[in-house]
Every structure is written in structure tokens, then in C-alpha cells.
């Protein structure tokens, strides 16, 4: 079945001309028609564009041209701008918005000959850990339709897990790629901050946001990373480094590799089933020669607070542009200020309003130093703590999420319970470190993710280690077919 293959397997079939890109695109569009009613991964299916891109890919393939992912379908999180295709960030305030340009990553996947199937659901403006704050729909976890796929890139994770797309793009501000990848049993990677251009990504926390891939194998995630990374003059925070390389991906070995296990991420606040799966994986990796040592980075415990000060502060500034003047719906109020106030009141959902308010508060006169400056100081300490350990270890290994997938709606009563789900993923955003989540088993029938964090700019090392892990832990498990 074409929709159950990895991207590399599909690419091999396409290059061998065993199947055409048009057939591959059709198979995926049919799968979306048949199953997305239950999963809810897509906000918009770009059928026409996909078929046109597939036909173009076939032309290239027929001439023996094209790259390693030519003709392979991809789904894009709906906070990345796509020319002529609606882009909403799952918010009512961008309902009807049609970008006049492509985000750099979208441009790059197009140049690579990939076929864009459509735009995936997310928490509104990527603010959430369950995809429940989307203004449009819930997304359901393909492993158990009553459960959340995690978030905020829940639609992208569910599309890859649910046989709707072999690859997808998400964005990760505090764990929004890795956490849903963990909960859906797929591979999710957040590159070093600055290796992938943010141009055309609707900004949430500008010092934290980074775009990255979802895939069914480490190799696929590495291939897609190599396509989307590299310097971009449109993004002043883009690093002047070469794209992420896949050379040597399979040449690593676990023998003598040393990993730190921060005790703060292995404590009883983590779900027992998750801990059991991760410990079992560690034992299997030890048997292959990897060495593990317990370490302590005390600032990890302050990560959630630090994040929930810094990210909303940045968001409150970034979201100021949504005022009903240049795009989106406009609700007339008294004067210019009144119109902005009414438009924003009608356009933003509750979670977004809460974060704008907390961000505005911590940045306001009298509170700036007590909250924002202090959070930035703790961020410094946390980054230094990780860098200290990176001098001694090849990588830091943790569970990806403190809990497996949970029932949709079950966290509504305690907003903090949802926020704590980012506990293990936040530090990599704070320090800009590359980090990957891959599957390490199941607990009560639901996937468990294991995370590898590496030092900044060592994206290739993280992929090489993850590839070694995958050889030991096995390929991403697939949910039972519908």
C-alpha cells in the first residue's frame, strides 16, 4: 500500500518508475478523503496544486532528474505561508487569508520536486500541546481516536502516523514537533535554531520558533531536513551555515558513545509507563555499547515557568499585527483603537487571549525585571547547564513527553497540566539545541517517545545517533489500519 511506505521507500519506487508521482499523489488524496473525516489532520486539502506538482515531478523523473524526495508527498502545518493556498494558523482572525508568497521552507520543498497535499491543523497560533485550541476542529490520534495527537503540530503528526502523508512539516517553539511525534509514534526533529529559515512562518515566539520534519524513519527526517535547511537572506536570524547534511548518517556506532540522563526528567512526575519504556530502551542501547550516566541540570525544573514567561512575551508583541487593518476580518468599533479591540476580541480564542495578556503583563512597567529579565537570566543558566554537560557527553537522552497520549478534553480543568507536557522539550528551545524524538515502545497501546538533545549546530550528530538508536529500538510502529 503506497500510503504506508516510508518516504525513502516511495522515492526509490518513483525513481525506478515502478509508480508515478501522479499515482502516489492520488493514493494519498484518496486516503485523506477516506480517513481524514475521522482523524481531522487537514484544514485544507490542496488537491489541484498537488496534482500539478505531481505531474511536474513525473516530468523530472522521466528525464532522470530530480532529487532524493522528488514526487514524494508532504503536508504542511497551517502556520506556514503557502502562495494561493489559505493559511490560517488555526485562528479565526486569519480566516480567508491567502498568502501572496511562499514561506522559504515551502519554496524549498517545491524546488525539491515534492508534492504538497495540504495544510494541517494546529493549536491556534501554535499555542497549545494538544491541538485542542484550534478554532476549527479537533485532530484525533490515529492510535486511539479518542485521544489527542499532542500539539501544537498535531495535524502534521497525525497525518504521518495515520497514513495520510509520508512526511510533514511542523514548527517547534517549546516542543510542538517532538511532543506530538512522541504521542503519535513517529520521528520528529527540531533543528538548531537558525538552521531553517523562519521566513513565512507565522511568528509565535521568535527566539524559540524553529521549523522541522515529521517522518516514519530517522533517514526520512534527515532527508527532509537537508531539503529545508540552509541560509536564507530573508531571515536575519538564519545562520550562515550549509544545509544539514545526510552524509555519514549511517556510519555511526553506539560503541563508547556517552549519554547524560538528567535526573530531573526521570523523576516520579513522569508517567510510570513512559519511564518503563525509556529505561527498557536504555538497557537495549547499553547492550550495544552505549554508556549512560545520571546527571543533574537543576534549571530544568524552572523550564516551564521560564518558557511561559518568554514565549507569551514574544507572542504578545508578534500578534500585535493582527488588528483588522491589513488582512483578516474587521469588526468595527469606536475609533481605531475600538476597532482593533473588537476585531481581536472576536478573532482570537481564549488560550491566545490568555497568553497575550500574560505576555503584556510581564513586559509592562513594574513587572518587566521581576518576570521577563529574570526568566531570561534563568534561560542563560539553563543553556549554560546543558553546554556544561555537552562538553562531557555525545548527547542528552530523556523521555519526549511526561505522559503518553491523553483523552481529548481531559485536561480542560487544569490549564497547567497541559503546559507541563512541554517539560522535557522546552530546554532545547531555550538553548537553540537540535533535538529529535523517536519511538521507543508502547505503553497501554500508545506510543512512547525518547528524545536525544545535542549541542547547537550538531544536527548531523543527532541524526547519526538517532539512526543508531533506531537500529536497536526498531522502526516506528504503525497504528492498526482503519
Amino acid at each position: 500500500m503506497l500510503t504506508r511506505l516510508t518516504a525513502s521507500e516511495l522515492a526509490a519506487k518513483l525513481r525506478a518508475r515502478e509508480v508515478s508521482a501522479v499515482e502516489v499523489a492520488q493514493a494519498h488524496l484518496e486516503a485523506i478523503r477516506a480517513h481524514d473525516g475521522k482523524i481531522g489532520a487537514f484544514l485544507h486539502v490542496a488537491e489541484e496544486k498537488a496534482m500539478a506538482q505531481a505531474a511536474k515531478a513525473d516530468e523530472a523523473l522521466a528525464k532522470g532528474e530530480g532529487g532524493p524526495l522528488t514526487g514524494v508527498p508532504i503536508a504542511i502545518k497551517d502556520n506556514m505561508s503557502t502562495l494561493d493556498i489559505p493559511t490560517t494558523a488555526a485562528s479565526k482572525i486569519l480566516e480567508g487569508y491567502i498568502p501572496p508568497y511562499n514561506a522559504t521552507v515551502v519554496e524549498k520543498v517545491e524546488q525539491a520536486g515534492m508534492v504538497m497535499l495540504g495544510k494541517t491543523n494546529l493549536d491556534e497560533f501554535a499555542m497549545g500541546s494538544s491541538t485542542e485550541t484550534s478554532a476549527y476542529q479537533f485532530t484525533h490520534n490515529p492510535w486511539n481516536l479518542e485521544c489527542s495527537p499532542g500539539g501544537s503540530s498535531g495535524g502534521s503528526a497525525a497525518a504521518v502516523a495515520g497514513d495520510l502523508a509520508p512526511l510533514s512539516l511542523g514548527s517547534d517553539t517549546g516542543g510542538s514537533i517532538r511532543q506530538p511525534a512522541g504521542l503519535c509514534g513517529v520521528v520528529g526533529f527540531k533543528p538548531t535554531y537558525g538552521r531553517v529559515s523562519r521566513y513565512g512562518l507565522i511568528a509565535f515566539g521568535s527566539s524559540l520558533d524553529q521549523i522541522g520534519p515529521f517522518a516514519r524513519s530517522v533517514e526520512d527526517a534527515a532527508l527532509l531536513s537537508s531539503v529545508i535547511s540552509g541560509h536564507d537572506h530573508h531571515d536575519s536570524t538564519s545562520l550562515p551555515h550549509a544545509p544539514i547534511s545526510t552524509e555519514g548518517l549511517k556510519d555511526g556506532s553506539l560503541k563508547g558513545k556517552r549519554f547524560g540522563l538528567p535526573k530531573e526528567m526521570f523523576d516520579p512526575s513522569i508517567d510510570a509507563g513512559v519511564l518503563e519504556s525509556v529505561h527498557k530502551a536504555i538497557d537495549a542501547l547499553k547492550a550495544e555499547g552505549a554508556e549512560f550516566e545520571e546527571i543533574s541540570i537543576p534549571e530544568i525544573r524552572l523550564g516551564v515557568t521560564t518558557y511561559y514567561i518568554i514565549a507569551p512575551a514574544e507572542a504578545s508583541s508578534n500578534l500585535a499585527r493582527f488588528d483588522g487593518v491589513r488582512y483578516g476580518p474587521r469588526h468595527e468599533g469606536v475609533g481605531h483603537v475600538g476597532t482593533a479591540e473588537k476585531t481581536r476580541a472576536m478573532g482570537f480564542g481564549h488560550e491566545v487571549k490568555t497568553r497575550i495578556l500574560i505576555g503584556t503583563y510581564t513586559l509592562s512597567a513594574g513587572y518587566y525585571d521581576a518576570y521577563y529579565t529574570r526568566a531570561q537570566q534563568v534561560r542563560s543558566m539553563m543553556t549554560a547547564g546543558f553546554n556544561r554537560e555537552f562538553a562531557r557527553f555525545d548527547g542528552i537522552v530523556t523521555p519526549t513527553s511526561p505522559s503518553p497520549a491523553f483523552k481529548i478534553g481531559s485536561m480542560n480543568d487544569d490549564p497547567m497540566a497541559l503546559k507541563i507536557l512541554d517539560y522535557c522539550t522546552i530546554p532545547a528551545n531555550m538553548g537553540g539545541f537540535p533535538a529529535i524524538s523517536l519511538n521507543c515502545g508502547l505503553t497501554e497501546g500508545l506510543p512512547v517517545g525518547i528524545q536525544i538533545i545535542g549541542p547547537a549546530l550538531e544536527d548531523e550528530r543527532v541524526f547519526q545517533l538517532a539512526y543508531c538508536f533506531e537500529q536497536v529500538l526498531g522502526a516506528s510502529p504503525r497504528p492498526p489500519t482503519a
Partner: protein, 96 residues
């Protein structure tokens, strides 16, 4: 630290968000819960620690000065709630 109803209204005004009384009350509760969780970093000694504003050390860069083609006017105006003669029509900002 906790936030009063008047402070919620003040911050909402700064953030250009119209809130009704029930929303102000609900948000006061949620913001205070968050601020309660934020107490953990108040106890940390941060003396002499340089605040980190970005993920990686970034320096201002000078871009080469080369012309690039901008977006077409109709493409940009396509999303405008209201436009006229190739311009955005915006609400009056300065009233007399």
C-alpha cells in the same frame, strides 16, 4: 504577586483586547494561577547572570544591497478588508 480586576482591564487595554466582565473575571483567575506557578523563579539567585535574549549568539549583519522584485500590488491588496485606488483603506487613526 497577584493581579487585580482593574489590572486585567488595564493590560487588556494595552493589548487591544475588548473583554466583557465575565471574561475579565475568568482571566483574572487564570492569570493569577499562572503567576502563582511563576513564583518558582523568584527564589533563584540570578545575581550577575547575563539575560539571554536569543537561542544562539547573533550579531547584526549587513546584507548586501541588491534590488529584488517586490510583490505585485494586486497580490498584496487581495487580502485587504477594504481597498481603493490601489491603497489600503484604514480606519481614521487621528481624529480632530
Amino acid at each position: 504577586m497577584s493581579i487585580s480586576l482593574d489590572e486585567v482591564r488595564h493590560v487588556a487595554r494595552l493589548a487591544r483586547l475588548e473583554l466583557d466582565d465575565s471574561e475579565v473575571l475568568a482571566l483574572q483567575g487564570e492569570l493569577n494561577a499562572l503567576l502563582g506557578h511563576f513564583a518558582d523563579i523568584q527564589a533563584i539567585d540570578v545575581t550577575g547572570i547575563e539575560p539571554q535574549s536569543h537561542a544562539v549568539a547573533l550579531h547584526s549583519v549587513w546584507a548586501d544591497d541588491f534590488p529584488i522584485e517586490g510583490l505585485a500590488r494586486e497580490a498584496v491588496l487581495r487580502n485587504a478588508p477594504l481597498s481603493k485606488a490601489g491603497l489600503f483603506v484604514v480606519p481614521t487613526i487621528i481624529e480632530d
